[in-house]
């Protein structure tokens, strides 16, 4: 047997073993942290599951987001950047009010990406929707296109940015799902804060990973997306809506 043939047989054997395993059991665990030399993969889909029945009357997620991403306002709520905000839903008939955190929903088919004239708005292979500020021209089409009002425009010169979160005047920005933390195998700042100080309402994980808690819950418990009529396939899902 020549070496090439032997190599081919080895690959075949390895593939056979891989196929023989039951779904959800892998030889190499996908949940392992990605190395810095490894690109984001389509095998993963990062997302959030938010149980709004547990969402406490606090703004721990908002504060943590502002702190993590260096979002300092100018005391002008009309134009200050807002990556996550608390929204109150009130039943007009009964007056029953619910509060929930709303941020970029990291859609499967994001309208912001469809309308972007420069390709700056894009969806990373692992499902995180981002703005490449190097190519963003600040036209704000995406701000208008987003049905969740998740995007902000930076109106003023920024200083004191975080090293991992560059942000500058004239570009659009939104929740990045704390992509710099996800790449280090950490959870987003809002989720961490909610589990530490809030009502433990937020869960983060890989929606495709059958062994993950979020995958199990989404398969066994009822959840929904905001504006399901738009069929955007959001990566952020809610319970108790």
């Amino acid at each position: 047997m020549n070496p090439d043939r032997r190599q081919f047989m080895a690959w075949g054997a390895a593939a056979g073993v891989g196929l023989a395993l039951a779904p959800g059991i892998r030889l190499v665990e996908l949940a392992l942290a990605r190395s810095p030399q490894e690109a984001a993969s389509v095998l993963q889909r990062w997302g959030l599951l938010i149980d709004i029945t547990k969402c406490a009357d606090c703004d721990a997620c908002v504060t943590a987001c502002n702190e993590e991403n260096g979002l300092t306002g100018h005391g002008r709520p009309e134009t200050d950047a807002q990556w996550i905000r608390k929204v109150t839903l009130r039943d007009r008939q009964t007056g029953y009010a619910q509060t929930l955190p709303l941020m970029c929903q990291h859609c499967e088919d994001p309208p912001c990406v469809d309308v972007c004239p420069t390709g700056a708005s894009f969806r990373r292979d692992d499902g995180i929707v981002l703005v490449d500020k190097h190519t963003c021209i600040g036209c704000r089409y995406c701000v208008l296109a987003c049905p969740y009002g998740a995007r902000s425009f930076v109106h003023e010169t920024t200083t004191g940015q975080k090293a991992d979160v560059p942000r500058g005047k004239g570009t659009v920005e939104s929740c990045t799902l704390c992509v710099h933390r996800v790449d280090r195998d950490e959870t987003p700042a809002c989720v961490e804060a909610c589990n530490r100080e809030g009502g433990k309402a937020m869960a983060f994980g890989d929606l495709n990973d059958a062994s993950s808690e979020i995958h199990r819950r989404l398969h066994t418990e009822r959840s929904s997306q905001i504006r399901p009529d738009l069929a955007l396939g959001t990566g952020v899902r809610y319970q108790g809506l």
Binding site: P36, Q37, A39, R124, K133, H134, A163, P166, R167, G168
Partner: protein, 128 residues
């Protein structure tokens, strides 16, 4: 004939090498301040860095933003961590590593419109 050709080539390389490392600079002409703060060597030879640093950064930025590849070799963060001034902790400012050359060459830098010019890791003797 071949030998002469090789000799000319070697001489040409020697001259270009000299001009690149700045050993034959004319002393009457002002030069930018290039203060190396940390480390023995950069990620590539100085001549290559001077010519190609903008291409390296451009290539790296797309790999990082688009694909999530966060290799440290040509990352801007890594550049700043080594080259920021000990006094100010920044690569900008009067004798800042980036700004002194760029103002000398009259080439504007856009990086720091969004990115922080400050070093993130502490080094001995630095204020941050």
């Amino acid at each position: 004939m071949k030998r002469i050709g090789a000799g000319i080539l070697i001489a040409a390389f020697a001259i270009s090498g000299h001009t690149d490392t700045g050993e034959r600079r004319v002393s009457s002409v002002p030069h930018p301040v290039v203060r190396i703060e940390k480390g023995e060597a950069c990620v590539a030879p100085a001549a290559e860095m001077r010519r190609d640093h903008m291409n390296m950064l451009l290539h790296q930025r797309d790999r990082t933003v688009r694909s999530g590849l966060r290799e440290s070799r040509s990352s801007l963060k890594n550049c700043i961590d080594c080259h920021a001034s000990r006094e100010t902790g920044s690569v900008l400012g009067k004798d800042g590593f980036c700004s002194s050359c760029h103002s000398y060459a009259s080439v504007s830098i856009d990086c720091f419109e969004c990115h922080t010019p400050l070093r993130q890791t502490r080094t001995a003797g630095s204020p941050r």
